[in-house]
């Protein structure tokens, strides 16, 4: 059965490689190998978002459709490659020079690999975990697999019918290529997602910061207790967070390097984030607002691109919104309205306090948020792009806290406690943590500039 999951992820990687070839190309084989993780995640986000559109169009996800989706992305990549005359690898490439920094990067990368291996061994034998997995995510995937379409009363009668479709589509594609709807094996799919995230984050961050700093924080994501406890659960929370984290990194790297291909990568990851969970829209909106506010001084050169890319990512999810709106599906989150909110004004402060407590809970998330806040406040004193990164982080984080607070305040069914069963917030705040963790290297690196440490030269521009 696992062969099916491996085949699907191979298809994702091939699709992503074709897109990367079209969007930018590579100078060497080493550069290509370095971007295999990015290719996996880019392919996964592109194919999965397309799969949601196929479902909305009323079709199913047969093996032929899945292959066709992958091939269509590959054709687009090859066409882009031909039109743009992107370079293809012709030489092996050069390995990084050996230094203290390289040694630290290797140690951090080894730490990441060790965590990935341990997670894979667990995914190999673990039963399907997470209440939401059997409550609705996997039943939806099974409904797509068995009944062929989402346009049936069976699919829409399942819990949370308005939730976005990416996770059920991904799981249904896994089932199709596995040849059986076997839930426990989905842990392996989520392992691929984390593996792709770690490799992609390291690849993208290394374009801006030294490898030791990039790999260090990538390794640290694997130490987040909630990630270790839930990454391989067949739910949407961590899938959402890894797409979000990569969208954030792609946008920040674009902001500094202005390489156009990164905007394409940002669109794919942002679209996947919005297609994964309802919170995805809040996450991408608060991030885009942060980015726009941070770049007010050079709005002419930044705003059209950021706004255009963000709207494109949103547009890819419009068909789904139209689909459920036209079928009058019941709302997932009942809303109180202004008068209701004022009537329950007493919930505001406890809701905010709960979100803050959860975000700073060391036993769940360690201390990446306070670390990033300290680095961001210090980075505010640096002019230029470091300050932009700091403002983006602070605005996006405040936006998420405000958004999650509003959800708790607005939905009276949520009990204001820290239990996983009472509210999804203990998992939702993971997005703030992942935001802090992936941006921490970009916030810390400018603080170290102007100082020479042997082998750990932060002034030196990183190489691939």
């Amino acid at each position: 059965m696992i062969a099916g999951i491996i085949e699907l992820n191979a298809l994702f990687t091939a699709s992503g490689l074709a897109l990367l070839a079209g969007l930018r190309g590579w100078g060497s084989w080493l550069e290509l190998a370095d971007e295999l993780g990015l290719a996996l995640m880019l392919g996964a986000s592109s194919v999965c978002v397309l799969a949601t559109l196929v479902l909305v169009a009323g079709a199913g996800l047969s093996s032929a459709t899945i292959v066709l989706l992958g091939v269509s992305v590959i054709v687009v990549g090859i066409a882009l490659c031909a039109v743009r005359r992107s370079p293809l690898p012709r030489q092996f490439g050069t390995l990084p020079r050996w230094s203290v920094g390289t040694a630290v990067a290797v140690i951090a990368a080894l730490g990441t690999i060790a965590i990935l291996v341990a997670m894979l061994r667990l995914a190999w034998i673990a039963p399907m975990g997470g209440g939401d997995s059997f409550q609705f995510w996997v039943p939806k995937a099974k409904a797509i697999y068995f009944f062929g379409t989402i346009d049936t009363s069976r699919f829409t009668s399942l819990t949370s019918p308005r939730y976005p479709l990416l996770v059920p589509a991904l799981q249904a594609m896994d089932f199709r290529l596995m040849g059986r709807a076997y839930g426990p094996e989905l842990g392996l799919q989520y392992w691929f997602l984390y593996c792709g995230f770690a490799l992609s984050a390291a690849t993208l961050l290394r374009r801006l910061v030294p490898a030791w700093l990039a790999w260090g924080f990538v390794a640290l994501t694997g130490t987040i207790p909630e990630l270790d406890a839930r990454m391989i659960n067949a739910q949407a929370d961590w899938a959402l967070d890894v797409f979000y984290g990569l969208a954030v990194i792609a946008a920040m790297v674009w902001l500094r390097s202005r390489e156009p291909w990164l905007l394409g990568v940002y669109v794919a990851f942002a679209a996947a984030t919005i297609a994964t969970k309802q919170e995805g829209l809040l996450m991408m909106s608060s991030f885009a607002v942060g980015l726009l506010l941070a770049t007010m001084r050079r709005w002419r050169s930044v705003w059209p691109a950021v706004a255009g890319a963000s709207l494109l990512a949103y547009a890819a999810n419009l068909p789904w919104r139209i689909w459920w709106a036209t079928r009058h599906l019941p709302v997932t989150l009942p809303t109180l309205g202004v008068s209701g909110l004022l009537h329950h004004f007493g919930r505001l402060w406890p809701s905010l306090w709960l979100i803050v407590r959860l975000t700073f809970a060391y036993e769940h998330w360690l201390a990446f948020v306070p670390l990033a806040i300290v680095a961001a406040l210090a980075a505010l004193t640096v002019r230029g792009q470091a300050r932009e990164t700091a403002i983006t982080f602070l605005v996006a984080a405040v936006g998420l806290v405000a958004g999650f607070t509003y959800i708790l305040w607005d939905d009276l069914t949520y009990v204001l406690d820290t239990h996983q069963a009472s509210t999804p917030m203990p998992r939702a705040v993971g997005s703030i943590v992942i935001l802090a963790t992936v941006l921490a290297p970009l916030l810390i690196e400018p603080l170290l500039r102007g100082v020479k440490l042997p082998g750990l030269d932060s002034n030196q521009q990183p190489s691939g």
């Binding site: 034998i125 059997f134 068995f146 426990p184 390794a219 130490t223 102007g450 100082v451 042997p454």
Partner: protein, 163 residues
Amino acid sequence: MSTVLTGSLVARLRFAVGLVCVAFAAVLFVLRVPHALNNLNAQRKADAYITGTEYRALATGDIQGVPLQLQAAALRVIPARANYAVVMPASLALAAPYGINAITMEAGPAFLRYLLLPRWQVAGSAQARFVICFGCDTTPWDQRTTWLWRDGKGDSIGRVRSP
């Protein structure tokens, strides 16, 4: 180590903050990577009792309190794509004698719905061709049900003769 610190006090303070952040991250790495590995290995050890493809599929329900034998029998007895209903005690007090707790009361039907797909769980007994009696009194069903499986602990699966 030769460290060149030039510039204003703010720049030096900034550098100090950066250094503290890196040092903190390094300490986290040294302490937490082994901790994460231990946790993942401990989870694996805890799951080591789960052997075989079928048991792995049923273990999630087992953890929620749905008996393994009931899950396996439901998969075996109810034909694919048949409608079925899950009948449970009306209250936690009535469920207690069967060893059903609050978690099982809430998660049991949802887990069975997931497990048994494409068999379709229906809310009322009117459309159900099969009934899973999970810790319940079968008396109201006896007249119109052929019982196909029983475990003697209050769990039964039957075919409804006149839906």
